[in-house]
């Protein structure tokens, strides 16, 4: 997914964010681990004023950290207001954990300052890269799954976790290419990175579905192979289908992870099967391109909440080797 654009300066005629009361010295209302096992939504610029004014019933919010790394201004001020009413998760899109050249120390310091300021309940980044030779390519680019890349990823995660002084979550990517010289499947790469660095996992169910289609692997086998006890957050999102003609002129499809639509039924189904193994878990509805009105986003989150509530009534976290618990009927929940 290209990193969404969120850098517009609002026109002076737009409605002002509510001016804040004086800030207390520290915002300690929500500590770590405070993200509830409910549905959250990605907080995007067009919705911030409305969230502040209407305080919709949503379990938590996730921001893209890079949109708040300015030294000040209205955007940070609005975030500090939002933070009083909602648990917040900081999701990074620019750290480039997979870069062979290592992490940008200035960027780490800016992120650390943001985390100190708003004390997010969770912090996460992607198993991908976006920086090469100092240039930021504004996309979450795929890694080859090699021992060398794994060692680089782990070194970078260790570096970031030591600067932040806390555990990170790493998210499985969506991708359109795979490398001929990869030495292990993606799930093994993810699991091994978590094992070596002690980081947790952010399981993006849409990304698994997208990559499974694009690289012809079995999404359920992927989930089954992961250490699910390390999963602390799940993402769901929309994607679209692009058609290419192969050399024989036959139509072939690639799923494009644009976070620009409602969640596909197949992704809700996979989410339901994941929940059956995982139990209730903080679940984020991501929507980044063609961002709709807030109620549309909240309606998607409500679907996730209903599935989560249903799962809460079912025993979770199966012991390895024990058959899975029955999968609830997702169609029924959505009616």
């Amino acid at each position: 997914m290209p990193v969404p654009i969120d850098s517009a300066v609002p026109a002076a005629t737009e409605r002002a964010v509510i001016e804040p009361p004086p800030y207390p010295a520290s915002h300690a209302r929500f500590g770590r681990h405070a993200i509830p096992a409910r549905a959250g939504i990605g907080l995007r610029q067009p919705h911030i004023d409305q969230v502040l004014l209407e305080a919709p019933d949503v379990g938590w919010l996730e921001i893209h950290s890079e949109n708040y790394l300015a030294p000040g201004g209205p955007r940070l001020r609005a975030l500090e207001l939002v933070r009083r009413d909602y648990p917040l998760s900081c999701h990074g899109v620019g750290l480039s954990l997979g870069s062979a050249e290592g992490l940008d120390r200035d960027h780490l310091a800016r992120l650390k300052a943001l985390f100190d300021r708003i004390e997010p309940g969770l912090i996460s980044e992607h198993v991908s890269w976006s920086v090469a030779e100092g240039v930021y390519l504004n996309d979450l680019l795929p890694l080859p799954y090699t021992e060398e890349a794994l060692a680089i990823l782990c070194r970078n995660i260790d570096h970031a976790q030591s600067v932040f002084g806390r555990q990170m979550l790493i998210e499985n990517p969506s991708s359109y290419v795979a490398f001929a010289h990869s030495e292990m499947p993606e799930w093994e790469f993810m699991a091994e990175a978590a094992r070596r660095t002690g980081c947790a996992l952010l399981l993006d169910v849409n990304n698994i579905h997208v990559s499974a289609h694009n690289h012809a692997f079995d999404a359920d086998a992927y989930v089954a192979a992961l250490p699910l006890d390390r999963v602390e957050e799940v993402h769901v999102a929309g994607h679209f289908v692009r058609t290419f003609l192969d050399v024989r002129g036959e139509a072939r499809t690639i799923l494009i992870d644009d976070h620009g639509a409602q969640v596909d039924q197949a992704v809700w189904d996979l989410f339901t099967r994941v929940l059956a193994r995982l139990g209730p878990v903080p679940t984020l509805m991501e929507w980044d391109t063609n961002v709709p009105d807030l109620p549309v986003l909240l309606a998607e989150a409500a679907i996730a909440d209903r599935l989560l509530a249903r799962q809460a009534a079912v025993p979770a976290r199966p012991v390895p080797g024990v058959p899975d618990v029955p999968v609830p009927d997702v169609q029924e929940v959505m009616r």
Binding site: V17, A70, E148
Partner: protein, 268 residues
């Protein structure tokens, strides 16, 4: 699992090499070295790589269009996209934050041959970039008017003011403020027959960035204060630039808008 080769041997490129090849492919379109590493399957490696290339180019062009909306309206979407693609190759982002991307647009346009027929574009880019910088600038408490009143009369002329972090001054030989202003509505702008110069003050109040036209005298006055000159020296500079400069009016304008972040009386 396949046997593991040490990086760089037996056709396995080190990760740094792979990333350099991808970067070159994404920015320049020279994709052969990158696609050689990609598995095909149902869809060709070139088609797969192009998805990333389109993502990178389209999203960076979109980021530039977001920061430079008036430039885009002035030159049209097609020309803007063309210029953005050149810009991205020459000035790719060096900081992983889109809100910091695009600061070289004015310099780029000044040297971009296809843009030479519109001489005010570089100054318009300075104005639009100043607006973004003002929006994301650090917060600062403005100096209240009462602070100046408390300075003993004999010290007034040697007082120094520091401009707030969100304050930007854009001077241009072209009528860039009026052209910018004409593009703030949704209706087709009319700015024929305008001529320069324009002096523009940009600053933030509350959540909003304000853009105002000011006179040459006030522009010279604020610029001089920003350079560390004293009140008397800045007033002198302003009068030399514009004999009609009104010090009392200029100070009132500046204090009412909260343009000053510091007031430093002379050392005793």
């Amino acid at each position: 699992m396949t046997e593991k080769a040490a990086p760089g041997t037996r056709g396995t490129p080190p990760l740094a090499d792979l990333q350099a090849r991808f970067k070159r492919g994404l920015l320049t379109g020279d994709i052969v070295d990158a696609t050689a590493l990609i598995l095909g399957g149902a869809v060709e490696p070139n088609d797969r790589f192009e998805i990333y290339r389109n993502n990178t180019r389209a999203s960076l062009a979109q980021a530039l269009a977001t920061t430079y909306p008036v430039i885009q309206r002035l030159v049209g979407e097609e020309f803007f996209r063309f210029a953005a693609r050149q810009y991205i190759q020459i000035h790719p982002p060096m900081v992983p934050q889109l809100l910091a991307y695009g600061g070289e647009m004015s310099t780029f346009l000044a040297h971009f041959p296809p843009a030479q027929s519109v001489p005010y574009l570089p100054d318009m880019a300075r104005l639009e970039w100043a607006r973004t910088q003002s929006y994301f600038a650090p917060d600062a408490e403005p100096v209240a008017a009462g602070r100046l009143a408390a300075v003993p009369a004999q010290d007034l002329s040697a007082v120094q003011f520091g401009l707030g972090p969100s304050v930007r001054l854009v001077g241009s030989a072209h009528p860039v403020f009026r052209i910018w202003n004409a593009h703030q509505g949704s209706e087709a702008p009319s700015f024929k027959g305008l001529s320069g110069p324009d002096y523009t003050l940009i600053f933030r109040t509350g959540s909003h960035v304000r853009v105002e036209a000011i006179g040459l005298g006030l522009f010279a006055f604020l610029t001089a204060l920003d350079q560390g000159l004293t009140l008397a020296e800045a007033a002198q500079t302003a009068v030399e630039a514009d004999t009609g400069f009104d010090l009392q009016g200029g100070l009132t304008t500046a204090l009412a808008r909260g343009l000053f972040a510091t007031l430093t009386p002379p050392a005793p």
